[in-house]
Subunit: 127 residues, 3 copies
């Protein structure tokens, strides 16, 4: 269910992107309790001119390694769960992909659970 | 009003993308009653490494033909209408673009009707 | 906090994109009172075949200069504030980037203020 959009700047090797993808997914599985198979991500590389971020906002020092992660997911996770998700994404991106934790930007967009179709034109999560 | 983001993997001919675009739009017009002219879509092609999906989640068998469709639209459609939208998108993508229905992933993001400006800096749907 | 996705068609010089980026950001700062440093934008260029818009919907005449701006931001802005945002984006894109106001399409996606992490795995806006 989560649909994850990962944006970063160009010139990263494929292996780096694979690690980023896996770290974000593992954090989702560990913290918001989605099945390991529930993995849908699109990655977009942007030229530096097309990837605009403030290098100091909130006194957090960002570099060109910044990863912007926008996750659309069903609503209903408590604040504690959402906080543990942010924490775990940053931890795993640091451990597994070598990113500085300051270079991890996350945004969640919440939708109704009926707002997903995983194939066959059905609303699998609607009750 | 719907803003449709269509993501797929590279190496699809332009004619395929045109059919996908038209099928999704026609399904929207037929099921959620938008005007035929209300068509705004962006398509993004991703390399296989940048387009990550589970090939089996929910026992649905997905291939590299998978299309991920994220539709931002005004809130307020009933569950029945949303279900008919999913069904019709999958049907038309199958009929018109030759896609397997299992290769159709859909997510809706709902917003307030005042959250759109179609040009001129005005909020055309605000009352 | 706003995460701004700007989509346009290819073959625009970098200087044009910089002006678009700056105009949108300045409008956000002026109308919804975000800090000047709170700037996070990704720009995506699409081939004409991948950038689909109706050239007449609502009697607004759009050209290939169209810019589609999707802004994810925390909920809570009044309708008046949102209207002033649309107006100011269109004005500044016209003045600073030479765009016709009809070529400015805007959509807002609102999220909870706890749905952001600006780095370090923390939810900086959660109270």
């Amino acid at each position: 269910m989560p649909l994850v959009r990962i944006s970063l700047t160009t010139s990263k090797p494929e292996s780096h992107k694979r690690k980023v993808s896996e770290a974000v997914h593992r954090a989702l599985v560990e913290t918001i309790s989605i099945p390991a198979q529930d993995r849908f991500q699109v990655i977009t590389e942007h030229s530096p001119a097309d990837f605009i971020y403030d290098p100091e906002y909130m006194n957090i020092h960002r570099t060109n390694d910044l990863v912007i992660i926008q996750i659309t997911l069903s609503a209903g996770r408590t604040l504690e769960v959402r906080k543990s998700l942010y924490r775990r994404i940053a931890e795993l991106l640091n451990q597994e992909a070598g990113l500085r934790k300051e270079d991890v930007f996350i945004n969640l967009v919440e939708t109704a659970k009926e707002n997903w179709s995983f194939g066959n034109g059905e609303a699998q999560y609607a009750t």
